[in-house]
Assembly symmetry: C2
Homo-oligomer: 285 residues x 2
């Protein structure tokens, strides 16, 4: 496994990689979710490139950029073991040099859910991912379903800006008790860690209601809201039952899926103490 | 010379081209200015790709999108003669399909000059050029100095979004009487066509004042303004003496150039009747 920092080094190393190239962009502090993306890339591509970059432009002024967990040595060991071929760890100055002033914005689907409560977040995400795509030039790029809206934004951006690659979304990895894996789980105290399972329990309750025949989107949102409110350490930011493509809230009945097999995206943003967690589940037809 | 329309056709044809690839994006209705870009590309690259696309997103609601001159058959004959290898003529639906919602914006340098009087113009330019770059994947891309701010915006965008290519700016081509070549010159009636030489005469007057030692930016702007005002058919929109990199207006004395050889950009936007024309000259050290 080769590790590079400078853009020139990356471009040279990239030229030596056998095609096709799979790419896993990360912010580091890796967990099993990231490694599952690396393994998926390895199974489908001749080479796997991973980037580690805590992207400052996707953090709001009151968010956790400075506190975001970092452990490069551990990350590199995990990636070597998982079979990455090339790891790129650019600095902020490499990706945002003096005079930088270009931004990629995706409009409608960034106005809702995470975009509504984290202004500028998806502009930072779309911009850095477009830049990473231009630098790495992968044939396939891997993202987790855990960040469902991010996946939708990146898919849209890659299509709209004509990147010649396939965006692959892999299933959310969960701890044994259902908590979605996230680098931010490290912020949780032991009681908060226990309370954090409430997200998955709320999603599961709504999923079971759906399986039992409930098709009213408002009642599914209400079901999730009630479960979250039952946990004293949790504070709900939003509970959504939305169209999986447009991310628009569904009003009234959930309709059968059209040209895809999922007919609604259930998603949650919840504060557990000071830690903000998100999770989601796709409801199948 | 091969001609393609669909994106798949373009990508296939692009794969067959010998590297390196030079790219000349145009809006068609070609003139000697465009052909000089094609010849420059041909001299420096193994293959030359030209796109012809009247990009709707860079026109304002009251601008001349519908009236913009088009003559594809004539363009193709001229390009074949000039030695283009591949011509791509996408439709608006190919580049902006249903659901399209991603935009590339360059911030500071688009706020001035053309950007100040044509809101949204450079967002359309930066977006379509980023898309064309992603589709064509050239090693070199050629633009004319005639659109000086556009050249600066594209250079900035290509660098910021990490496109692995060189932006090449070629000199403005002029008619025998000094009028900068432009597809929009076709809008001019015979008396307007005569009056239109006032732009180059104004730039030349300021250039001569500079050569004679004038270093006050305000007096150079005043010099251009007075020349333009001497022409009854002309209406000045702006006369600028700006830093060639930041495009900020210079106040007071023009300083010697730092790391480049040009120390000021003189530029003009002038209505001749209903036709809006722009032109510029770089002042050397």
């Amino acid at each position: 496994m080769e590790t590079v920092i400078a853009l020139d080094e990356l471009r040279l190393a990239r030229l030596r990689l056998p095609e096709t190239v799979g790419f896993v962009p990360t912010m580091g502090f890796l967990h099993e979710g990231h490694l599952s993306l690396v393994r998926a890339a390895q199974a489908e591509c001749a080479s796997v490139v991973v980037s580690i970059f805590v992207n400052p432009t996707q953090f709001g002024p009151n968010e956790d950029l400075a506190a975001y967990p970092r452990d490069l040595q551990r990350d590199l060991r995990m990636l070597a073991e998982a079979g990455a071929d090339l790891v790129w760890t650019p600095t902020p100055e490499i990706l945002y040099p003096f005079g930088y002033q270009t931004w990629v914005t995706v409009e409608q689907i960034t106005q809702l859910l995470e975009g509504a409560v984290r202004p500028g977040h998806f502009r930072g995400v779309a911009t850095v991912v477009a830049k990473l795509f231009s630098c790495v030039r992968p044939q396939r790029a891997y993202f987790g379903q855990k960040d469902a809206q991010q996946a939708a934004v990146i898919r849209r951006m890659a299509q709209d800006l004509n990147f010649d690659l396939q965006v692959v979304i892999c299933p959310t990895r969960r701890e044994a008790d259902g908590l979605a894996m996230s680098s931010r789980n490290t912020y949780l105290s032991p009681p908060e860690r226990q309370a954090a399972t409430i997200l998955y329990r709320a999603l599961s309750a709504a999923q079971q209601a759906f399986a039992a025949g409930e098709r009213d989107a408002g009642r599914l949102r209400q079901c999730m809201t009630e479960v979250i409110q039952s946990e004293p350490l949790a504070r709900l930011q939003y509970a959504s039952c939305a169209d999986p493509d447009s991310l628009q809230e569904i009003e009234g009945q959930i309709s059968p899926a059209g040209d895809h097999q999922d007919c609604a995206l259930l998603s949650l943003a919840v504060y557990i103490g000071k830690t903000r967690l998100i999770d989601n589940i796709l409801l199948g037809d």
